[in-house]
Symmetry: C2
């Protein structure tokens, strides 16, 4: 047995406390598995007096987390504070510059500064591991970085935000609307008081930008993720989607286009019977399509103390075993600057819901407007009856069109045109249909 890997943990929220618990409970096993012990030397958090249900006897307390980066008796700093700037960023940069390995669960930090941090890590010949930053307990970073090295990756489709998936699942099973379910989710602790990062798709976009870099060998490029949240999805849409044989999911997709990498986060109709359609509640999942392995799907818990701490341990164990890999697989200097294909070029079928004014000939006018906009229709469902999905007795009839494949630009123009149309009440809602890449 060789020398211990000596670690310092910054941040003792649920994840930090979870890591301390595992180190205490499984110390002997981890030492046998790694050929050396993992020793918790020091911790830093805001409130020393708080009861976290963990035993910190014999562990040094640092009021200033930066002390961990400076300490001579620490080989690895685990940054479990969060946030893309401020103390988390300073601590990670200082630790890497001081030649210490870094393990982090901080998706915002890696999404915004991943490539620059990778350079720091490589200069110091240390690891920067971030398994816990993407999809909680699902070992997707390890899969991309190690298991799939023999593959050219064609696409990634992920359900990467448990809050959104919980809300959509609840809307589906109860028929209740977004705002109502969100309020419940907040009371249950599944959604933050300010839910913008989750329901607006930003959290999923952070994770997607990281996965896209791993998949395609490009610099992390959060700024060019196309992001739409789930705020406009109604129970009506979910009911219509089900009639057509789809579930509504917030998907995070990265794929190779003709002239670059498309990264997009948005609600999508996913065909029932595909693995991602079956992912319910707070679960996350990632479907990877590789040229050799084919479709590989990983599903599990994307957040919470246990799953996230499990992912942090995965990173610690790798480093304890001596594995130091460039953070984005190939050295940062070899990462390509990602091309920025226009989202306009993306093609799919679309779900288009609008309210038609209830007068003779309105449907004919609307379908004619769509035809003029070069959008061709595969199916139409109209509801008049009260009590059925979408009927509200207002005299405005919900109509749903499923289009044939068309491009984003065409669809956006058609939607804008319809929004101004005298036979359409309000702005139509458009949801992409994803069915080609999911098996």
């Amino acid at each position: 047995m060789t020398e211990a890997l000596r670690i310092g943990i910054a941040g003792l929220g649920t994840v930090g406390a979870g890591v301390v618990k595992i180190l205490a409970a499984r110390g002997d096993y981890l030492a046998a598995a790694c050929g050396r012990p993992i020793e918790l030397v020091a911790v830093s958090a805001r409130d020393k007096t708080k009861d976290r249900g963990i035993d910190l006897g014999g562990v040094r307390w640092e009021d200033d987390p930066m002390a961990l980066a400076r300490a001579d008796d620490i080989d690895l700093v685990a940054e479990l504070i969060g946030g893309s700037e401020g103390i988390a960023r300073e601590l990670v940069e200082a630790s890497l510059k001081a030649g210490k390995h870094v393990v982090t669960a901080n998706k915002a930090l890696v999404a915004h500064h991943g490539t620059a941090l990778a350079r720091l890590a490589e200069e110091a010949n240390v690891a920067l591991n971030y398994e816990a930053a993407v999809a909680g307990g699902i070992p997707i970073v390890k899969a991309m970085r190690e298991a799939l090295a023999g593959n050219e990756i064609r696409s990634i489709h992920g359900i990467l935000n448990g809050t959104c998936n919980y809300i959509l699942t609840e809307m589906e099973t109860t028929g209740r609307d977004f705002a109502d379910v969100l309020k419940d989710a907040q009371e249950l602790g599944y959604a933050e008081a300010d839910p913008t990062f989750d329901v607006g798709g930003i959290d999923a976009a952070h994770k997607l930008a990281i996965l896209a870099s791993l998949a395609f060998g490009t610099e992390v490029d959060f700024a060019n993720v196309h992001i739409e949240g789930i705020e406009k999805i109604s129970a009506t849409d979910i009911a219509f989607a089900r009639e057509f044989g789809f579930k509504v999911k917030l998907l995070a997709i990265a794929e190779k286009g003709d002239d670059g990498i498309v990264q997009r986060v948005h609600p999508a109709l996913v065909p029932e019977g595909t693995p991602l359609a079956a992912v319910s509640g707070v679960y996350n999942a990632v479907a990877v399509d590789g040229d050799r392995v084919g479709h590989l799907v990983l599903e599990g818990r994307g957040a919470g103390e246990g799953p996230t701490a499990s992912a942090v341990l995965s990173d610690l164990v790798d480093i304890a075993r001596g594995l130091v890999v460039p953070p984005f697989i190939v050295p940062a200097a070899k990462l390509k600057a990602p091309a920025k294909p226009l989202m306009d070029a993306h093609k799919s079928s679309f779900y288009l819901r609008l309210r038609a004014v209830d007068r003779a000939g309105s449907m004919a006018e609307i379908t004619r407007a769509l035809a003029q906009a070069s959008v061709s229709i595969e199916r139409i469902v109209q509801r008049g009856e009260k009590g059925r999905a979408g009927g509200d007795g207002s005299g405005r009839l919900p109509v749903v069109f499923i289009t044939h494949e068309t491009d984003e630009g065409t669809m956006a123009r058609a939607r804008a045109h319809l929004a101004e149309h005298e036979d359409v009440a309000g702005t139509p809602l458009v949801i992409r249909i994803e069915d080609g890449e999911l098996r």
Copy 2:
């Protein structure tokens, strides 16, 4: 860039040829990802003249695979021959003794001799990696060995044989019977001419024994896997199961019992809506339940050139990066001898199908016999009509019972008793119901 990892490949079937193709296509990427090239130095196979669609220019040909173990210019031997004994075993043993890393796709070899081979690898301080031996392209060995190190594993439920899953899926979607679908599967190349290893559950049991060792820190113990195949499952059973809300799957299960590890491979009724029920066709899947991570499910292709070669590359990349881990996570000397709990103690609900003689009072007699055998009934379905599931016009009525939870011993005695019963024609079929551990 440091020195190349110099490899020799023994066996150039679909998997071996697939590995050669990836090394050729992705050499630059792999060198960047590993910090060193992976160089194919020599190969050995039976027929030098066969066209495999690969370029072996500059690669040494060895007629005798054992030459790879002896060669001074080889650091790693990839054994892609197969079989638990004979040349595959000799080659792996000789290579490890000669201080060479070994990568193998050979599930039978690892299931039968895993612990002894691990000792050889550890004595020589080299790697023995076998990702491709379990579930093809699914990185389950890596997940168990690395990603889940922070977890105490509670159970593993796997669909580990694509041939069986293909046959059961086809039986379900077409209503055709086992023998008929098997014949088609053989013609399509999804089943071997001698299908015993697959449909008899032995192949799945090999993989399960390996996973159980990784999960529970016990010596590989193939001899104590309880094995039943899918040969007795009829289209009738699949139709009945569907009526009750189940799919029929060949499951491979390892779980901690009160006094040891239970390892079992058998057909099972799996509730629809769970991840494993949705795994169709030749796909494999593994659901792991860990105390921190919760339920984690990995699904993908379990066989074939691309997926299996992808898994071999995963092992090669780990070794090229310098990762040498004891083959079963902790050193072989620390693996526990597995306790052997009696399968009799296992408890579940059961599906029991029999044919009742068509006379007044026969059902009363049969249910009384079950009560006397201490088996309590949750649901009964009886079919009389021709043309409906199970009706064959023979005057013997298929009856299906779903029992409350009971133990294996009680169920086996009840089944034996019914087989002798004058109101029962033939031997009843019993299928376990697995619903507790699948979410």
